[in-house]
Amino acid sequence: MISFSALAELDLADKINELDLPDQWYELTGYIKITPDNIIKILNPNPEFGQNVMTSLPMIVADELEADWKQVVVEMGPHDSVKLGPQFTGGSNSMRMYWKPLREAGAAARQMLMGAAAQTWNVPVEEVTAKAGMLYHEKTGKSGTYGSFASKAAEIPIPKGMKLKEPKNFSVVRNSKKNVEGSKIVTGKPLFGLDYKVEGMLIAMIEHPPAFGMKLKSFDASEALKMPGIKDVFTQKLYEDGFEQGGFDTRSFNDLLVVVGNTTWEVMKARKKLKITWEPAGDTKNIMSGKREVVVPGELESTSTQLEKMKEYANKPAQQLRKDGDPEAAFKNAAKIIERTYNAPFLAHNCMEPMNFFAHVTDEKALVAGPLQAPGWSEPTLAKLLNLPADKIEIQMTRMGGGFGLRAYGHYIYEAALISKKVKAPVKLMYTREDDMTYGIYRPMYTATYRAALDANKNLIAFHVKGGGIPENAVHANRFPAGAIDNYLAEGWQIPSNITIGAFRAPRSNFAAAAEQSFLDELAEAMGKDPIDFRLELLKRAKENPVGKSNDYNADRYAEVLKLVKEKSGWNNPENTKYSRGVAAYFCHNSYAAHVVDMMMRDGQPYVERVFSAIDCGIVINPDAATNMVQGAVVDGIGNALYGGLTHKDGASEQNNFHRYRIIRMHEAPKKIDVHFVQNDIDPTGLGEPPFPPVFGAVANALYKNTGNRFYEQPYILQLNKSSKA
């Protein structure tokens, strides 16, 4: 039996969207505008890349405002850090950053409306109540819509220090609401950066070097320029010599060969007619903020040599990140030492919408529009590059076809702006899939060696992690199991590289959890313990008698998700033994996640059939959408753990499109993912990233159950296929 009550609500929401909104909004606070006919427009301040902030952030406002959700219309806000706050999508921060200010905005607007009603009715404001977009005075029986008091309310000074609701009184928060852009998505309306178009807009693409460590030597564009629709071919420097880069101004290549034409296909065709000579760039220099010089090595790197180099570095002394007790002595006195090394490749983000941006730059001002996660970080760089004051730069944020961290980096915005300035026309810069995959800012390549010392009674007496990577390591020295073991040592090292790297869904954690959670599973087995019970024992120790002072997790909340997943998955239920079960848990980005994955082998290939997830991210604002996000993170984790990887040969990416870079598909995704949230009243923390890292470990542990082999090399499918051939 299917209920369609929710569809009725959607129909109404659609109708509101279609109404001609009146020009005269009564702006109450930066986020809220109310019309006389009681339509409540709430601005979404933060960029939307699929985490559903377009819906869930306005829900927070609507809750304190006591608005009727059916009257709410959501609009993407402009870039305006004064009115709309930090406007940054990343680090699972949207809810943490905006929870309090949006509640305060809603509460202030409600108070202003109540004040306006009190004035009109000539009654004390304390006697006015607000509910579902209506104001009431019980004694006199008077009532009115928010809209009818909006103009008066707008004249009342914005109150500060409002008392916020108790969680038990939430009216919108904790009630699932449908994606406010759902109808537009399923009917193909223009929403994304690539859909952005203005009259007279040209299309631009960049021909970049075929390998990291190469640069442009010379080119002949005579044939390309003869092609229909082609306007110009030219070189453009991204940054002039000595340009001070901000932390998110990462550049893969500096000398850009640009083709500009009328249409996408014409530019694609003309690119094939370019005759280009590339040459090794040699060592180059980046000037980072504070005039810090960073040398970028010129070597043309290959995966095989990278792996060898990582092995060499792993045996060198490294930087000590944390030390508790006397780990050296404990390892010396150990009855048994277990040592394992884990490796993982570079990963490409592969957002479904390739990188692109619109720019229209004139001598006086600039308009840029498109998909990006961090407008506030791009604006100062744009101002410097274009030599314009920041207030002459308008940044519009479109819906993003995925982001996963990549869209926090602004290079494609700067490229688009510089190209528009040069050709003196509105331009849309577009990367093809090949450009996007081979000209990336990737998840780094990582390795880590874990060692555990057991005494004669199989007690864990020391723990050592030494991690490295190209060009950074993934060691979080103060995370679990730090704090639970008397003798503990964490060390890190890194190898510089010209392959550009950056944030990728749960940066560093996405490898740390894979390695550590696989190792803990192996360790539990060596100690003759159940893997969940073993983790709970360590967490008990960390809570009751923590080692060290800088432990950055809450042992109770960590234990809670493990207990919840144990219960919900029927961990000890013999009926579940038909599956190969793997468990893992992790804490990152302020939230806790644990998964049990149930795997089966069919035709020699592993399939995760079911997953049970337990999450503690505090108050869950939009439960069904939050469930969707966890389910997505689980699928993303399975896909990247089993299949993900970008390799290099002489500096060139060996994968350039989806025929070579395997992405998880429908038949490989679980048929069931049960998501359970710990119920508490803790202020919400993030959810986009935390469920992702432990999936890798759970998959590895299930593969072990299935095959009898431990998995140390990602992507796991390569190790599996190698071992089954051997």
């Binding site: 998505i185 399923v186 009917t187 193909g188 309306k189 899939r433 069904d624 997505g632 699928v635 429908m666």
Partner: protein
């Protein structure tokens, strides 16, 4: 000049005959619901119907389709009420949403030909459509729900 029939409307377009249908839809006609994802029929974001069959418009030359009927996501239903669109909203399938038009177009052919698809049928029909956000579970459920709606005449 090539005459195209798209969503039951005729268009005369003056483009290079090699141009993939995708770019004619997006650049020439402004029908941007059909998405670019890979340009080599690997991801399914550009799926449209050509004489009722699901094809990847990124590898379909415009010269090869004169006289054939093209349906895009914008033309899938007159009132945005195709059972798949209803089911997609009911189950709140999308995350970023970029691939979903292509997913729906692939599923629409499956549902027309198979009123009661099994899980295996769904796997086979949808294997060519990537969702990077990982909404496969909900896509599967939405197809099953749409099949149910369709059987009930809705």
């Amino acid at each position: 000049m090539i005459t195209l029939n798209i969503n039951n409307k005729n268009y005369n377009v003056d483009v290079d005959p090699e141009t993939p249908l995708l770019w004619v839809l997006r650049d020439t006609l402004g029908l941007v619901g059909t998405k670019y994802g890979c340009g080599m029929a690997q991801c399914g974001a550009c799926t449209v119907h050509l004489n009722g069959q699901a094809v990847r418009s990124c590898v379909t030359r415009v010269s090869s389709i004169a006289g054939k009927k093209v349906v895009t996501i914008e033309g899938l239903s007159e009132k945005n009420d195709h059972p798949l669109q209803k089911a997609w909203l009911e189950l709140d399938v999308p995350q970023c949403g970029y691939c979903q038009g292509g997913q729906i177009m692939s599923a629409a052919v499956l549902l027309r030909e198979n009123k009661n698809p099994t899980e295996k049928d769904i796997d086979n029909a949808m294997v060519g459509n990537i969702c990077r956000c990982g909404t496969y579970l909900r896509i599967r459920k939405a197809i099953q729900l749409a099949a149910e709606l369709q059987r009930k005449g809705g």
